[in-house]
């Protein structure tokens, strides 16, 4: 804990040496990737303390710059009961630039293409450095139930959206649980 939030608590005057042994351990890292590392570590800590209902995320083995996330379809939407895996890849510019986020589980949705690319403004021009893994996943989760029909990546899904009953059948037909 101390290595992540070295100064949290009431002792801002502590010498930096108390910041743990982590710092000298990675002398080859640039300053930039070091600060990304710190931020991702504190996000991970927050998510492990409780991310929120229906979302979870964890770094891939030995690479904290690549995460796998899962979201579940919200209740009372056509995606209820389904679960989707996503990949998040962070650059050295994070959080000043958004991570690359893709669906790894096939998702029949107006704003998701067949390769899993997502069309969502906050992952592009509406990105803010105040967003994090948790809020990204929550945004994608709410995008599931509230698609933007006017600029679809999947036109078939966009056209079918008005017929929720048929849409649900299509979701069930195309759904492959992510554990496979």
């Amino acid at each position: 804990m101390a290595a992540v939030n070295g100064y949290q608590g009431n002792t801002p005057a502590d010498p930096p040496a108390s910041n743990g042994s982590k710092q000298p351990a990675a002398p080859t890292k640039t300053v930039d990737s070091q600060s990304v590392l710190k931020r991702l570590q504190s996000e991970l800590m927050g998510l492990m303390m409780g991310g929120g209902p229906g979302i979870s995320a964890f770094p891939e083995e030995d690479n904290i710059f690549c995460w796998k996330g899962t979201i579940t379809g919200s209740k009372d939407t056509v995606f209820e009961g389904t679960e989707y895996r996503l990949s998040l890849s962070f650059s050295n510019d994070y959080p000043f630039k958004p991570p690359k986020v893709k669906f790894e589980t096939c998702c029949f949705h107006p704003n998701v293409d067949v390769y899993g690319n997502i069309c969502l403004d906050i992952l592009q021009d509406k990105w803010s450095s105040a967003y994090d893994v948790r809020t990204i996943l929550l945004s994608i989760q709410s995008l599931l139930g509230e698609p933007n029909i006017s600029s679809p990546l999947n036109t078939q899904a966009a056209q079918l959206w008005s017929n929720q009953e048929e849409y649900r059948k299509m979701v069930e037909k195309l759904y492959k649980p992510p554990s496979a």
Partner: protein, 84 residues
Amino acid sequence: MKVKILQWHAVASWTWDAQDETCGICRMAFDGCCPDCKLPGDDCPLIWGACNHAFHLHCILKWVNSQTSQAHCPMCRREWQFKE
């Protein structure tokens, strides 16, 4: 009675006068410093925007400089302007 002080050892604590505890950009404590600095204090100050959101000066400068057009406050999306 006369008391003669031979030696004394003063201890003070300080804190930034911000409403939040952590910087919304780097997620580090305001009483700490931004991830690029080693020591908290005047070398890694806080700065307020016209919208009253506070950040580490170094963090908000990085954000403003990373934007190709007019920068917005990361918290409320208002046009970013440093508070007078």
